[in-house]
């Protein structure tokens, strides 16, 4: 798969932060949403699978900017016995304790999409593959590397 080309310029109807919050509250009832200077801060629980622990996670979003997500508890950690192997598909991968999941590539997400229907589900899915990576040493969720290589 080629690297995605810059999409043609067209007007995207950005969903505002309050609407984003409405859908988050509806689809993910455990989430609390707060606003601060135009920024949405959502915090809640997700359980990626029927054998996963409950994670407390956070999401921060300002209209038109890429959303940021992070895991609060249980904190993300590297594989046992492999202290030098970073967690796959994270920002700040080299800095233990500061890793944040990398959920999508470029235009997978746009500001006319609902976070509740995209980013949060992808976050669950990331956590599931993170757990499987812990067990097996393999990242089985596919994805694109920073250098553009396609693991899909």
């Amino acid at each position: 798969m080629e690297m995605a080309r810059k999409p043609p310029h067209f007007r995207v109807r950005t969903v505002d932060v309050h609407q984003q919050a409405t859908f988050i509250r509806r689809d993910w009832p455990s989430f609390e949403c707060k606003f601060n200077a135009g920024r949405l801060l959502a915090r809640g629980n997700v359980r990626p699978s029927n054998i996963s622990p409950l994670y407390t996670v956070g999401l921060s979003y300002r209209a038109k900017y890429p959303p940021k997500v992070w895991v609060e508890t249980p904190s993300l950690r590297r594989r046992e016995g492999e202290p030098d192997t970073p967690i796959p598909h994270t920002y700040n991968a080299r800095t233990e304790g500061k890793e944040r999941p990398c959920l999508y590539y470029k235009t997978d997400w746009r500001s006319d999409m609902l976070l509740a229907r995209t980013v949060i589900p992808w976050f669950c899915e990331w956590l599931m593959f993170y757990e499987i990576w812990h067990w097996t040493g393999e990242w089985l969720g596919g994805g694109i590397d920073h250098d553009g290589g396609n693991g899909k």
Partner: protein
């Protein structure tokens, strides 16, 4: 021909499903079985055979017919069962048994492979499988599938109903079976062998757990028969779509039934109750069975309560280390493929595949994880 409902669910269910795919007959083993089954059916029924002019039917029974095969541990051979139903009315059971035996001896290769068992003639394809040929005659009454099979210990006929049983089991599994009227009924096609219903998966897992448990806890000879596990599983199955849930209610049902039964449990063929599948149990072997069900119950309760890495450890202990690890990787691949195909869904309980669309679930949209891969 078998049409079945594929099991579905969250990570644990898909993991268990993949464990089953790992432990069942491989496609090539299955193809091998089909070939040998058809060849011997042909030998028994064609021109020149003792039975050439007799009205007859050949059909499969056992785990290959129910879709619940499990590669046995310890010895290398699995079982393929064939019934040769001859429309004769003789009272002489041993004469029929011997006629089948003698027909096999007429064939150079089969003569080398034939072993006499109590009811069937076994072709021992050493290192591959046992092809068990059960002679039979029809019997009036019942649902039209009643048969009598020769029993050497009894020196007489013994009642049975394998077809009724198979139809009963597959109906509960919601795997529909279409019967052939005469001639040789084929084994289910290999493609169908891959898509299994939750009850079929549960039976496979019970059998696998049994194999490991009795290997570890002494006597393999005392292990409960597969037909017993299969019958009890089907009787206590409540139609769950997810394998883990199916297993749970099956084991709870078995435990309940044992506790309300004063003596040794009987496990009659539900389609013919004079046939008691558990007739071989004595006090000792029955106690071992009860302990096994207790252990199963404890396993599943623990599994329910565990999270994360501990789950994998328990599954490894229950079903075997290598099988469990391979199965998890296969499950991971399946989840990714489902996302790409558009069949993955997400709810507040997590990611699921094959789940029926409900108002509380939404599709998991395809995307690419970014950042440095491993």
């Amino acid at each position: 021909m078998v049409v079945s409902t594929v099991s579905s669910g969250s990570l644990l269910d898909v993991w268990l499903d993949e464990i089953c795919r790992d432990i069942q007959l491989t496609k090539s083993q299955y193809g091998d079985a089909v070939e040998k089954y058809e060849a011997v059916a042909n030998w028994l029924t064609r021109d020149g055979s003792t039975f050439a002019d007799i009205r007859l039917r050949v059909f499969p029974q056992g785990s290959v017919a129910y879709g619940t095969t499990v590669k046995p541990r310890g010895r290398d051979e699995y079982d393929v069962d064939l019934v040769l139903l001859l429309h004769v009315s003789t009272d002489d059971a041993m004469a029929v048994y011997k006629a089948v035996r003698d027909r096999l001896y007429e064939h150079d290769i089969y003569a080398e492979l034939t072993e006499e068992m109590n009811r069937c003639l076994r072709l021992n394809y050493a290192g591959r499988f046992h092809l068990d040929i059960l002679p039979a005659k029809p019997q009036q009454g019942g649902d039209g599938s009643w048969i009598m099979v020769p029993d050497k210990d009894l020196d007489d006929w013994s009642p049975s109903n394998p077809e009724g049983f198979r139809d009963w089991f597959l109906e509960i599994a919601r795997a529909v079976y279409v019967r052939a009227e005469r001639g040789t009924e084929p084994l289910p096609a290999p493609e169908d062998a891959d898509a299994k219903a939750p009850l079929q998966r549960a039976v496979q897992l019970l059998k696998r757990r049994r194999d490991i448990y009795f290997e570890r806890n002494g006597d393999g000879d005392d292990a409960p028969r597969s037909i017993v596990l299969t019958t009890l599983a089907a009787r206590h199955y409540r139609g769950e779509h997810a394998v883990a849930a199916a297993l749970k209610s099956i084991v709870e049902g078995m435990k309940r039934e044992i506790s309300t039964c004063p003596g040794i449990l009987e496990v009659p063929n539900p389609t013919r109750d004079e046939e008691n599948f558990a007739e071989a149990w004595d006090l000792q072997s029955y106690r071992r069975f009860v302990a096994f069900v207790e252990a199963l119950h404890a396993d599943l309760s623990e599994l329910d309560a565990l999270e994360g890495e501990a789950v994998g450890e328990r599954l490894e202990e229950m079903f075997g280390e290598n099988v469990t690890r391979r199965a998890l990787k296969a499950a991971g691949h399946r989840f990714r493929q489902a996302r790409v195909d558009g069949t993955a869904r997400v709810t507040t309980s997590g990611i699921a595949i094959g789940a029926t669309a409900t108002s509380r679930s939404q599709p998991l949209r395809d995307h690419n994880f970014y950042g440095d891969g491993p």
